[in-house]
């Protein structure tokens, strides 16, 4: 593995020295995204870089001139001058002027970037340890979005799966955020537990998701496409594993997606009206992969010493009311899922059914949403 990587590093260095990027998706600079904000930020970034390059040429020019021409072998007798008020004033005033040259456009750009007025639609983003919840209040749509299964398998310590073989490793989710293009979308950003930060590099900005507070930001995406990002504020063990995927589609496609979501949601409601084992297991698996998998792992084996295993667990397969109680109230590091308004009793019943009948557990009982309500 290490040899392979050293080889790759070498190839990369050779390619770079030949002036070619080693990979197609390889980047060294801020991306120019599909939004005006992104272009503003990119433009400003490049402007600041060139200003710095200009200063660098002067500063390092003087420094290296000195190093070369004023070394003792060339200049054995040092000059004795010091203090010069005129010079001191000059090198105080010039930086001030340069800074004003930076501050004026920065102020203009910032006011534009922070202006969330006139939004045509709103999406509420809630950060969780370690996934995102999206809500479209105008449409009544809401769902969780967490790391996809392939990445999750590959990212386990010693999984033996080469991340190179996983498409969009760590940057893929189960349910992407779908948004229309050419629409000013206002994001309301908050968190349920600790501070997170919602960041899609292609949009430029990031915004902290703070529990108990609501931050606002906006995008107006001009080009359909898939834009990927990650949580940018350390939020605990799996901070690196809560990606963001935004699928920007045309307005027509967006309307079709909304209709389809509602239809599927209704169909699912109908299906779940007859609460069968099959239905509960299917839903339970989804809920498990959203809320439980990062600690208890895909195969229910947990993390020894930190997160208990569910596979073969006497607690998980024991008295059902106790299991429901733990899931509702939490235990140690485990959150109280019963207190989360974004998780329904049906979700909880399904996931408990799943846990008692997966990973080799064979209790065989079916937990109903009413059972959850009873324990509450």
């Amino acid at each position: 593995m290490i040899l392979h990587n050293l080889k790759r590093l070498f190839v990369f260095l050779v390619l770079v020295s030949l002036g070619e990027a080693a990979r197609a998706d390889y980047a060294v600079n801020i991306p120019v995204g599909p939004t005006e904000t992104s272009r503003l930020i990119y433009g400003f970034h490049m402007y600041a870089i060139w200003v710095c390059v200009g200063i660098a040429v002067v500063v390092f020019g003087v420094m290296f001139y000195s190093i070369i021409h004023h070394r003792k072998s060339k200049n054995p007798v040092p000059a004795t001058f010091h203090e010069n008020t005129t010079l001191e004033i000059v090198w105080t005033v010039i930086p001030v002027l340069i800074l004003i040259g930076l501050a004026v456009p920065a102020t203009k750009a910032l006011i534009k970037i922070e202006d969330t007025s006139g939004a045509e639609m709103t999406i509420k983003v809630t950060g969780y340890q370690w996934k995102w919840h999206y809500e479209y209040p105008e449409e009544g749509i809401q769902f969780f979005s967490s790391l996809d299964e392939a990445s999750n398998r590959a990212r386990q310590l010693g999984s033996g799966i080469d991340p190179e073989t996983v498409p969009h490793y760590l940057l893929e989710v189960d349910h992407p955020l779908v948004v229309p293009v050419n629409t000013k979308i206002r994001f309301l950003i908050t968190a349920a537990d600790v501070i997170h930060a919602w960041w899609v590099p292609a949009f430029g900005w990031k915004k902290d998701a703070i529990p108990g507070f609501m931050n606002a930001a906006w995008v107006e995406i001009e080009k359909p496409g898939v834009y990927r990002g990650q949580c940018a504020e350390l939020c605990g063990r799996d901070h690196g594993y809560m990606p963001i995927v935004v699928k920007a589609v045309t307005k027509d496609e967006y309307r079709a997606w909304v209709a389809q979501w509602k239809q599927e949601h209704a169909a699912r409601k109908a299906e779940e009206a007859q609460w069968t084992m099959e239905v509960a297991l299917k839903r339970g698996r989804e809920v498990y992969n959203t809320h439980c998998v990062s600690c208890h792992q895909v195969d229910g084996s947990g993390v020894p010493g930190t997160f208990p295993a569910l596979a073969g667990s006497a607690v998980a397969t024991g008295e059902v009311d106790r299991v429901i109680d733990i899931v509702l109230e939490g235990k140690g590091a485990m959150p109280a899922f019963g207190k989360d308004e974004n998780i329904s009793d049906a979700d909880l019943a399904a996931v408990i059914t799943y846990v008692r009948n997966a990973f080799g557990n064979q209790v065989g009982d079916l937990v109903k949403p009413d059972d959850i309500a009873d324990v509450r």
Partner: protein, 535 residues
């Protein structure tokens, strides 16, 4: 001052005590300086080992070595140990060794306090490191200790907070000592404005420390209350605000980074004139610039929080105030360049490190200017660009400043010249390793890699690999440093005279003293007033 020395003269005509008790009971500024520097070196290796664990895990995508929770513990402890255990004690070591001889004093003003301010440190550091072995491991919230995340950690939290309290007490005591020494023990004729830059930068640093350490202590105590006594300072559900902690933390944290860099400025302001064989170009403006930087450090803190959702006017204020820092910092850099201009430069190891400092710190300054711009910072914030930036300033600036000072004064302390060949080798390996380590992190950040993640998307692989290779080069080069210092301390090498560096007498009082300096009463038999006047 001089009279104090005279009355004690006779009874102090003995060398240091023998054995371990010498170090535990010492009130001698030189011994305490050595203790500080030795402690800093040990913590530099401990913190460095943690950095290498971080970089080894980041060598390739996927998890190979450690659990993400342990990774987060490493990033947290690496930062706390490097800041409070390595860099700050190293500068305190320089202060102890050099401030008395630079101002013509026999010792620090408060010797017993001096002993105590050092001996708190090993206990604080042990307590902090011991949290790694507690149930649930060390605090894994990053050194910024932001709630609510930090409140999720169990047993380690109160111990971490207590060790932060201890570290703060140690810093405050050391600062009081430095201020009292500088105000009261200067030689006759050595006015404040004649005082060397290193003493000036430390004086201002000491005031910063006294002003901000209590703020940190208060903030972490509030965390303790939220965790154990059901208060809600930082919990919105109880009427508090998690962002309040960030304001308090950075009100400490921003001056803190200047606490780390100002003494390095001081060292560089001693080294560059010596090896340019010219006086410092504008000393008055250097002193003034340092004071201005110290003041500005208190009014810019929220530039660490541009993404928390501050109102636009507040963002604009913090942006303008932050940009202003570039002006006094520029004054310092231009002064160093003007000092070199038409000098008679030689490039012994201290000067190489000073020039390395200049290059790296200026690069870190550029990224600093870029990040002061709020629109661009909304992108840079919390990605690898900021990691590169603060390592360029704190390692490229702070640690290279420490290296410069170490090689500059080591012959004065030991009476023996260090191995110049190995010294130069150490510089070049450190400089190249450092750049290979941190330069690629700029590009990682710009390409979109967030900081504090143990694993990354595959397009970030190449730059991470370069960075890891650089980290191991930089890390293992420091073993060479230990060997060079060990050899020099053992006396293997050329013996040096009083001046050590050609013409050094005109750059500081300390070069009038024999090398090594006498254990007690450095200035006995030396006409201080003449030395001050000659300088």
């Amino acid at each position: 001052m001089a009279t104090v020395a005279d009355t004690h003269g006779a009874e102090h005509e003995h060398g240091p005590a023998k054995g371990i008790l010498r170090w535990i009971t010492t009130t001698n500024h030189k011994d305490i300086g050595t203790l500080y520097l030795t402690f800093a070196m040990i913590m530099f290796l401990v913190g460095g080992t943690m950095a290498l664990i971080i970089r080894a895990e980041l060598y390739q995508p996927g998890l190979q070595l450690v659990d993400p929770h342990f990774f987060n513990q490493m990033t947290t402890l690496h930062a706390l140990i490097m800041v409070f255990g390595a860099v700050m004690p190293a500068f305190a070591g320089f202060a102890n060794w050099m401030i008395p001889p630079m101002i013509g004093a026999p010792d620090m003003a408060l010797p017993r306090l001096n002993n105590w301010s050092f001996w708190i440190l090993p206990f604080a550091a042990t307590l902090l490191s011991a949290t790694l072995f507690m149930d649930g491991g060390a605090v894994a919230s990053g050194w910024t200790l932001y709630p609510p995340l930090v409140l999720q950690f169990g047993n380690a939290l109160p111990f971490t907070i207590f060790s932060v309290h201890l570290l703060g007490i140690s810093s405050i005591l050391a600062s009081i000592n430095i201020i009292v020494t500088i105000f009261n023990l200067r030689a006759p004729g050595l006015t404040m404005m004649k005082m060397p830059m290193f003493c000036w930068t430390w004086l201002i640093t000491a005031f910063l420390l006294i002003l901000v350490m209590p703020v940190l202590a208060g903030a972490v105590t509030m965390l303790l209350f939220d965790k154990f006594f059901d208060t809600s300072f930082f919990d919105a559900a109880g009427g508090g605000d998690p962002v309040l902690f960030q304001h308090l933390f950075w009100f400490f944290g921003h001056p803190e980074v200047y606490i780390i860099i100002l003494p390095a400025f001081g060292i560089i302001s001693q080294v560059i004139p010596t090896f340019s064989r010219k006086p410092l170009f504008g000393k008055n403006s250097m002193i003034f610039a340092t004071a201005v930087i110290g003041f500005l450090s208190f009014i810019v803190w929220a530039h660490h929080q541009f993404t928390v959702g501050m109102p636009v006017p507040a963002e604009l204020y913090f942006m303008y105030a932050t940009m202003l820092i570039a002006v006094p910092t520029g004054v310092k850099v231009f002064n160093w360049l003007a000092t070199m201009w038409k000098g008679s430069l030689t490039f012994e190891t201290p000067m190489l490190h000073a020039l390395g400092f200049l290059v790296l710190f200026v690069l870190g300054g550029f990224t600093g200017i870029m990040m002061s711009q709020v629109p661009a910072d909304l992108y840079y914030h919390d990605n690898y660009f900021i990691v590169a930036h603060f390592h360029y300033t704190l390692v490229g600036g702070g640690v290279f400043g420490i290296f410069a000072g170490l090689f500059y004064w080591l012959p004065k302390w030991t009476g023996t010249m260090y191995d110049e060949k190995l010294g130069k080798l150490h510089f070049w390996l450190s400089f190249l390793g450092f750049n290979l380590l941190f330069m690629p992190q700029h590009f990682l950040g710009l390409a979109g890699m967030p900081r504090r993640i143990p694993d990354y998307a595959v397009q970030f692989t190449e730059f991470n690999q370069m960075s890891t290779v650089g980290a191991f080069i930089f890390g293992f080069t420091q073993l060479l440093l230990i060997y060079i210092v060990y050899k020099c301390v053992k006396g293997e090498g050329e013996k040096v005279g009083d001046e050590v560096w050609e013409g050094a007498k005109s750059h500081g009082l300390e070069w009038n003293l024999p090398s090594p300096m006498p254990y007690h009463h450095s200035f006995e038999g030396i006409d201080i007033q003449k030395a001050v006047a000659d300088e």
